[in-house]
């Protein structure tokens, strides 16, 4: 791949020399077209844009002076494909192949803006010329994600150019393992995978544990459905994870590492694999790292689609090639983990924070955030929100700011209802508590949790009972079946929730759910079971009326639960466009046509035959005039 210096770097000086030479070389190309090739943008066709750009540049004879850089995810997936043109940082969104010629001719060659491709703020109507001017980015603080837009994840030279592996060099040359652990502890870094355990303390236990060899593991399972920040780090900046792991391994005294990546993330596996190879070639990984005598190798293990394998003991069982059953943790995995040896597992984002802390110091890191939650956190902001995407904010920012300032609020003028945080084991937080800062303790107090950082925004068209049922169904399917409270408890709760959604709920169902939920919480074996009731308990706590409406009035106010709703057409709003008639799969709609010619034309509004209606919603979706109403 790399053309220069594939020889191993034998010392820190050689690393710095290589870095300088890369920087000098990169300064020669003034203009860079950074093209987001994260999964979101690729799905919108950004892969094809690379070729089109290359062609267009070649046509203008610019192929040598302008670099096209395929980068990882920039986070603003809603507006993809994204293109940023440096050095000015001109930010174009929703770029198609037809726009490329014009971009090269105008912006690249003459520095002119193409108004049409700029992002327009939906509220202020102002046009943003650079990423910093876009509301979505303006209110963020991007550290872990800071370099995603600036580097090609497949190029270690790019990573070196932005200061990569300087943290490793510093750790190996200036710090003893103990001092390093002390620094991480002082920084206040806590695990980003869910539990929020102090990273430094975990490292210390593993370092002090008896047994050889020791293992350093990275949890890239990201089982939380609706979250994709770990994926974007692994895909967009894989070297930052590797660098963090090498530093951790040095501190802990380990020579073997594993990264466990979810089966659904092929691009992450690919980019991590390339990164490992490149780091090995340069002697930043493997034997005798940077000539210091320290050895560390990393292997990638692919998951095979089991949520519970994100749990630490199950993950280790899975790497061993077994069924991913968790075990009780009377003995910590830092003492007895993978292959029965001391093992230290951290989440992807946790690892990616490590080089930053080593580089800039514990004090810098702990200056951000709240008393007990330091640094930044990446959230995947999804659901009924204008700016879907990945956001990185300092700890302590309020949920309201994330949703309204960064996320741009709720689309289509709908009303906010709740935000679900923490994945399947998290909870729903209502409007009244939106000013809560993001902080491990405060979120847990509300019956939610930080989790891995999924933020799912719901509007008034989302039914919270349905959401609780959705998560319960997920957990029931994913429960490994080893312990009874979780296996049976989730099943019974799911049955009750299913009944409520079908209008067959009974008055005492809510109390039953609460009692059962608490028992499952107390008696389950692993984290999956002990948190399984959170979505139910938190929705019961904040949205009890909605449950009651389902049970007592047999009504679903959000219009989601099929058995509890009817569809009808408001004749005054109906334009007789016949879209609903066409959409209906069971021919339950009559009318919806126009008769006669010219001035004599009359409209026959559509009419839904309730006996035939199967409540599939097709007509509601097809109607552009809000004439099909749900009640």
């Amino acid at each position: 791949m790399s053309t220069v210096a594939t020889a191993k770097l034998a010392s820190l000086e050689e690393l710095e020399a290589l870095r300088s030479s890369i920087r000098v070389e990169q300064q020669k190309t003034q203009t860079t077209v950074a093209l987001c090739c994260g999964t979101g943008c690729q799905a919108y066709g950004s892969g094809r844009l690379i070729e089109v750009f290359a062609e267009a540049l070649a046509k203008e004879g610019l192929e040598d002076s302008v670099r096209v850089r395929a980068t990882g995810c920039h986070g603003f997936c809603e507006r993809g494909p994204l293109v940023v043109i440096h050095p000015k940082g001109t930010f174009y969104q929703r770029v198609g192949p037809d726009d490329v010629g014009e971009i090269v001719a105008k912006t690249v060659k003459q520095g002119e803006l193409i108004e049409r491709l700029l992002y327009v703020d939906p509220q202020t109507k102002e046009k943003a010329q650079t990423e910093e001017q876009v509301g979505f980015y303006k209110h963020q603080h991007r550290l872990v994600f800071g370099n995603n837009g600036a580097i090609d994840p497949k190029s270690i030279r790019d990573y070196l150019a932005v200061g990569g592996y300087a943290g490793l060099a510093k750790a190996l040359s200036e710090l003893k393992p103990d001092e390093l652990i002390e620094q991480i502890t002082e920084s206040g870094l806590r695990g980003r995978g869910g539990g929020g355990f102090l990273t430094g303390r975990k490292w210390r236990s593993c370092r002090e544990a008896e047994g050889e060899p020791k293992y350093v593991l990275c949890n890239g399972d990201e089982g939380d459905p609706g979250a994709f920040m770990d994926r974007s780090i692994m895909e967009g900046n894989p070297h930052s994870v590797l660098e963090g792991m090498v530093i951790g391994a040095y501190a802990i005294g380990s020579n073997h590492g594993y990264i466990y990546v979810r089966a659904e993330y092929p691009l992450a596996v690919e980019n991590l694999g390339i990164a490992i190879r490149q780091a090995e070639e340069l002697g930043l990984l493997g034997e005798d790292i940077l000539g210091t005598g320290f050895d560390f190798e990393i292997r990638i293990n692919r998951g095979a689609g089991a949520f519970v394998c994100g749990e630490s003991t199950a993950l280790m069982a899975s790497i061993e090639g077994k069924i991913g059953d968790p075990r009780a943790k009377y003995i910590h995995t830092t003492d007895v983990g993978l292959f029965g040896k001391p093992s230290n597992l951290n989440n992807v984002e946790t690892w990616a924070n490590v080089p930053l802390i080593v580089n800039r110091g514990a004090e810098w890191f702990s200056s951000m955030g709240t008393e007990k939650s330091k640094g930044t956190k990446v959230f995947s902001l999804v659901g009924k929100i204008n700016n879907t995407g990945l956001v990185e904010v300092p700890m302590g920012v309020s949920l309201r700011d994330i949703i309204y300032k960064v996320g741009g609020g709720i689309p289509d003028g709908r009303k906010f209802k709740a935000v679900q945080i923490g994945g399947p084991s998290g909870g729903c937080i209502p409007e009244s508590l939106l000013d809560t800062p993001v902080d491990f303790e405060q979120l847990t107090e509300l019956g939610a949790m930080m989790g891995s950082g999924g933020l799912i925004v719901m509007d008034e068209d989302t039914c919270v009972v349905d959401i609780a049922r959705y998560f319960m169904n997920f957990l029931c399917e994913e429960a490994c079946g080893k312990c009874t409270p979780c296996r049976e408890g989730t099943k019974i709760m799911l049955d009750i929730l299913g009944r409520i959604c079908q209008g067959k709920g009974e008055a005492e169902d809510m109390d039953k759910l609460e009692a059962l939920g608490e028992q499952v919480q107390l008696t389950s074996l692993c984290g999956l079971g002990t948190s399984a009731a959170n979505p139910v308990l938190s929705t019961l706590q904040y949205f009890r009326e909605e449950y009651e409406t389902h049970v007592k009035d047999k009504r679903c106010p959000a219009g989601v639960c099929r058995q509890l709703i009817t569809f009808s057409v408001t004749p005054e709003a109906c334009t007789s466009c016949a879209m609903c008639v066409k959409a209906c799969p069971v021919e339950a709609i009559s009318g919806g046509t126009r008769k006669g010619k010219g001035k004599d034309r009359v409209r026959v509004p559509a009419l839904i035959d309730q006996d035939k209606c199967i409540k599939c919603r097709a007509c509601h979706e097809a109607c552009k005039f809000d004439a099909v109403v749900i009640s």
């Binding site: 066709g45 049409r116 327009v120 994709f228 991913g324 659901g383 959705y470 552009k624």
Partner: protein
Amino acid sequence: MEQNAAISSKDNICAEGKVESKDILRILESHNKDRGGLISILEEIQSEYGYLPEEALRIVSERTGRSLVDIYGVATFYRFFSLQAKGKHLICACLGTACHVRGAPRIVAELEQQLTIKAGQTTPDKEFTLETVNCLGACALGPVVVIDGHYFSKVRKSKVKQLLEQAGEGFDKFDIGKDERIFPIEVSCPHCNHSFKDKTFAIDGYPCLKINVATDHQQGWIRLSCLYGSYSVSTEFEIPEGMVVNFICPHCNSEIHSTSDCSQCGAPMIPMLVDGGGIVSICTRRGCKNHMLDLV
């Protein structure tokens, strides 16, 4: 040399689907060094055959010394593995939370109905396999459906049938997202139902469509080509490129309200009724060529 031979034999078995013990041995060989590489071994077998054939599992058991029960246990524990051959086209619908709140269950229901199978099953003719997944990490695009590796974003129920038809014929034949049909349509006001056709003025050789437009300062007519797919227009006063204007029916004088936002520039899109049933929506931004046609 070894490598090349391995790659070509891989292509062969993929095509024929027959289990050759030498291929399984080769996979086992390549994982010899890893401790506990069973999951990787099974993953590799599955990626070659599309599923885990029984013969292959027997060979793995013999060679690794792990009981068949044990291997079967692993193969059934993880969602990724399948013990049955899959169809020619693999449809994977996301049921992750982000997609769920944006209506993914209805998309899956529609896929099930169109294919007359349940999620997890393969059609009897072995054409389609329908699977669901909990988040593909492309939540901004939800609901997401992946068909044979092509991502489809913001899938609507009404699009499902067309997607399946295209999948059956192979996506390579279609330039997805392009619609090059050009044909005349007659449209009318969604409020008063009066036709916009203007026989006094021809554009593209056909009677044009005449509607009134208004900016903050000016009002006048705009004449559009009635050819769907043509962007020829003429206006009474100059509308600067990029400006968003209001559309007003010349017959009932009511403003035509927007029902959705343009997917390309974010400006409001307004709907007009198509004679014969259906709707055409056009973007209200001058210069933006986005339009959508939904015919009955």
